[in-house]
Subunit: 425 residues, 2 copies
């Protein structure tokens, strides 16, 4: 379907045919959902052996009774698991509770209210501080900034990561920019893996930024590959070591999309100065994380190679769903300008851009036809997509058949909205 060269008559014919098809599907009363960026029950079941894995032995190899209080930085065994996951030495890692989002929030509020380098370094001592937000991005990152009144500045995502020319220019010009959100591998939602050059340039941002600059490096999909030839993410830890900027990056990861989504172990990797600054503040709000759950996870992945083998099982479940989404998009839009997307090799999302001004309409059309999509705009700060074009597709929870059925409706809605736009032009 090439709208650009189509006659008005042709457009009207298409519109009629697509409307008829749409109405027929609407009458079917579908109830499908592509909104949920979480594991399916089948994926969760891969980790059910966590229950009972301790066989009532709650003592770690290092001799810690995990049942009692204490241990702010997590058990050595859990921190070693963090090293496997994050590729950063365990000495730089804290193992926490069930949520990396909570860890990010805690680091953000520490930096904002209390300061990671003492009280004078608190961001809220300055008026009007800002954060760079590669867009589209993760709504829960944006909500934290919004709650704290940190102004968010959009920068475009490219197929190599954030537009670093834009990022560097903004940071050079404005010392009130205190940090940047990053999902460096299988970025939420575009699926992009940051290139080696982008990683290096991010590691060097602190050199041109104002004081207290911190990159929040949310490596949520660090090992969540769908193919064996998965793209490698360069080590930001090594890059900051080379640049002498280790204090400028805070790394996060968790087992939430590895074991049980709501009951995993979250990790922070950071420089000694950041860990110490954080622990001073964290020690006021907790006596320590759930070390029993940390021990369960350490035991579950005790055998070398078991973590990767486990992730391959996830990939086997997720891959057909991603393939279904990509097949429908390729078939419908591979040869025209109705939509754009990246072909993700991992993560949980596929990000689709309609022609300008159609995302809300497509989401509404799909909704009326029984296919729930993430609200348009959700992937942008303040819920505002300036182009009204981005839609996040989350295919992991439905069955392959459901994904297939939902995507048929999706591409139909995109076509219909696009043709109607062309007619209205």
């Amino acid at each position: 379907m090439q709208l650009a060269n189509a006659s008005r008559e042709q457009l009207q014919q298409w519109e009629q045919a697509l409307s008829a098809e749409y109405n027929a599907i609407k009458a079917e009363g579908l109830n499908l959902d592509l909104t949920r960026g979480k594991p399916s029950a089948e994926q969760l079941s891969l980790s059910d052996a966590l229950d009972g894995i301790l066989q009532h032995n709650y003592i770690t190899d290092s001799g810690i009774d995990t049942r009692n209080y204490g241990g702010l930085e997590g058990t050595p065994e859990a921190r070693a698991l963090g090293e496997q996951l994050m590729g950063v030495p365990a000495a730089q890692i804290m193992a926490g509770g069930n949520s990396s989002l909570t860890l990010m929030y805690q680091l953000m509020t520490t930096a904002f209210f209390f300061g990671l380098e003492g009280a004078d370094s608190a961001w809220n001592k300055e008026e009007g501080i800002k954060f760079l937000c590669p867009v589209p991005g993760y709504d829960r990152h944006f909500s934290i900034c919004e709650q704290l009144g940190i102004e968010m500045v959009n920068i475009p995502m490219t197929s190599n990561g954030p537009d670093m020319d834009a990022a560097e220019a903004l940071i050079k010009a404005d010392s009130s920019i205190k940090g940047m959100w990053c999902v460096p591998k299988y970025s939420n939602p575009t699926g992009v893996v940051y290139s080696k050059d982008v990683v290096k340039r991010i590691a060097n941002l602190a050199k041109i930024a104002g004081k207290g600059f911190r990159v929040f490096w949310d490596n949520a999909y660090a090992i969540h590959d769908l193919s064996e030839n998965a793209p490698q993410l360069a080590s930001i830890w090594e890059a900051t070591k080379a640049a002498g900027t280790t204090d400028s990056v805070l790394q996060f990861a968790s087992t939430s999309k590895i074991t049980h989504a709501g009951a995993g172990v979250a990790f922070l990797a950071a420089s000694d100065a950041n860990l110490n600054g954080f622990k001073k503040v964290l020690g006021i709000q907790t006596i320590g994380p759930d070390k029993i759950n940390q021990l369960r996870h350490a035991k579950f992945f005790a055998v070398p190679g078991s973590l990767n083998a486990h992730m391959q099982k996830h990939a086997e479940i997720i891959k057909p769903r991603f393939e279904s989404v990509l097949k429908h998009l390729e078939e419908a839009f591979g040869d025209n300008a109705l939509g754009q997307w990246e072909s993700a090799d991992g993560g949980y999302f596929i990000s689709f851009d309609t022609q300008e001004g159609l995302a809300k309409k497509v989401v509404a059309l799909a909704g009326q036809a029984g296919v729930k999509l993430t609200p348009a705009g959700a992937t942008f700060p303040y819920g505002k997509d300036p182009q009204d074009s981005n839609i996040r597709i989350a295919p992991t929870v439905p069955s392959v058949e459901q994904v297939d059925a939902a995507m048929k409706v999706f591409v139909l809605c995109v076509k219909l909205a696009s043709v109607q736009k062309a007619l209205a032009a």
Copy 2:
């Protein structure tokens, strides 16, 4: 030993005898510890059946897959356990993660930075806000206020709870007092249970306080009785309902000293307005608590009466330790004015008051003789005991024999310090 009527010669004789005894004990090289307010390994083992209790069935009776994300307020089953524990309807209860301290911190920071009743109600909109702190009290409560810059105002503890005449007078005179810390049952560290009259007066404080007043009701030892005729704590929930002040009290509890200290379930009980205000802020920092651990706990206490039966096992372990402490205190100081204490029927601490100005010295003497005591002052805001007299004794972790040995040293140090004080007068 009656110091008041003793001659100087008598005092010198006592001092020589006590010093000799002290030096002999010092030479023994003891290594004992009465500082740790946490369960012993024997107590923790009472709950070891939590591991494996799910038999790989992670679905609640209410149909929730506890493995996945979501459920900010906790599972219905966990909230029902909270009702058992707190005596407040489950509808008013949120079940959280592993730490009630974290919940208190989250409520405190919500009220302080963001407001429980919308942004305008945030405490930090006012300068110089204050909190009432019954003393001696719990150091971790005080640390939260200190971190936020909330000025702490001491009010005395009596054997019925906080001195309410003092509390009411202060609150009436000063609308910048925004709240009050309370450990209403087996108060940390005095072991006192608030009387029915005190509970009622606390429920009525909001009527004389400035706007946004909140009592932090840390019911850490709600069911942690040592005797069958345990004193009853009146319901603050009912009292606030009667007074029309349900928004003024935030109640906290946890299973930390019921099951596994570091891996339990924490609870908040509050009015609908407070729960809604809190959830708005909490929803930014987490997707939900560890529901699997909540399910473990709900199953562990599923049989009616099992919670109480479980607490009796704790009491059987703890009681001999408390008895040993009380026996030594009674024998040494029952007939004189060298020290004062309450006879606690539960909780984790016995609080001892030396004569004025001797707490630091006693702690130092005991430390040099191999008995570690909580630093003097720790039970007061800013670590400053104006009388330098309070010492917190935590006897749960050592064996009964160790408690006995440590208490021999303790009473000796109190006697020695007291005699030396009398000699110096």
